[in-house]
Symmetry: C2
Subunit: 245 residues, 2 copies
């Protein structure tokens, strides 16, 4: 469940309360929460205070993936890891691996934490680089998948729900790697397609939806509607997983 507040829909003073209501309504159905930090950073320091309050409202026992897509090297990567795991206390993060293992290693030094490396993302222009054919006959995202997964069992991969053929390909290459699959719901990815493409092995995949749940309704029933949308998506995913076994 993404916690990605739309800039136009909130006064910053009301954001934490909105998120608290969304969390209370969706916690029975959410396996994981995934705030994308950009939506808090866009409000400056008050936005990060709202993130703090949002994280405090997540029930203990539901893990949090910090969608931060950071990528830097050396002492800078260590600084980002410190921010992610010591300040925000995320259980896992998303990272951009363009700079190689140096980017990811400082995050892997934290025991019990995880890192999802961007592989094949859900946006239209992701093909520009990610689907470049390499001289060795593979595509760049396939090379990224295999290389990143070789770094550690704590590395998962981000593969968008809007690219089911590529999702299937990554699963073929890496039958047991954990996949983080955003893009279900508002971005157009279909749950049953995702489950079939990525495999129905329990625990092998985190499917994310954000806007379609957080803004399921605009009125005073927004939280109730979010809970209902979360429950529906969970049921759809579970049914698809059962059917695919």
């Amino acid at each position: 469940m993404g916690l990605d507040p739309d800039f136009k829909k909130h006064r910053i003073e009301d954001l934490a309360a909105y998120n608290r209501a969304i969390i209370a309504a969706t916690a029975p159905y959410a396996a994981v929460y995934k705030p994308n930090i950009a939506f808090y950073e866009q409000h400056g320091i008050p936005g990060l205070r709202a993130l703090e309050e949002t994280l405090a409202a997540i029930p203990a026992g539901i893990p949090v993936i910090g969608d931060i897509k950071r990528g830097d090297i050396g002492s800078t990567a260590e600084a980002y890891a410190r921010a992610a795991f010591e300040i925000w206390k995320f259980d896992a993060v998303t990272l951009n691996g363009y700079q190689g293992l140096d980017t990811v290693a400082p995050f892997l030094a934290y025991e019990g934490k995880g890192a999802y490396v961007l592989c094949r993302t859900s946006n239209p222009s992701s093909r520009e680089f990610q689907e470049q054919p390499l001289a060795n006959g593979t595509l760049l995202f396939e090379h990224v998948a295999v290389t990143a997964a070789s770094w550690s069992p704590a590395v998962g991969l981000v593969v968008g729900a809007t690219a089911p053929a590529e999702l299937r390909r990554v699963r073929e290459l890496l039958p047991t790697v954990t996949l983080l699959v955003p893009g279900v719901g508002a971005q157009g990815g279909r749950p049953e397609e995702v489950v079939v493409a990525a495999g129905a092995v329990p625990g092998s995949m985190v499917v994310n939806a954000s806007r379609s749940i957080m803004y399921a309704a605009d009125g005073p029933d927004f939280a109730e509607a979010a809970g209902e949308a979360a429950r529906q998506l969970r049921d759809e995913l579970n049914a698809a997983a059962l059917a695919a076994r």
Copy 2:
């Protein structure tokens, strides 16, 4: 001039004052300041307050590159652009283009601002992906260079000082693109090598040094030593540029 405070060297309460002293001493010699936001994020919200104070101490007229290496898509990329240009008021940023133009476009929508896209970085493992040979006979960083530069004249490229051969190659491919070249000083890049490799055309290159200036001395003369180190590097770069013409 990088403004990248070492985690171990500062109590967070003293960080802004240290930076103010460094800025006062180096401003006569710095063409640009480049804070890497990771070093502030690692201290949590108090760190970002110190960044605020640091930015306020930079004299008007010296541009600031926000070294943020963000990379996301759609409304998330818009949120990061809002944070960079409306909250922090950076003049330019560094970005990771693995997700293609979608990542960079929201930043280019701000007139008068610039974006440096990661091309060939200065770290050891950068080769894992950036030097992958493509089926079309080029290397990935060459393809990234040409593609990213085609998006807009407001796009520059990040090419590390520790890879002079690749720097020369990018300059051959793109004679007029602006290059941001980190890695001089503590990381081992040599100024005269960088100037020869990247071309001595005025305004075509920003060379960055951080630790070798910020921590030129450990004692109470740290600011004086930083100013002296900044002056020396500026003189070295200017002499190399004159010699290379």
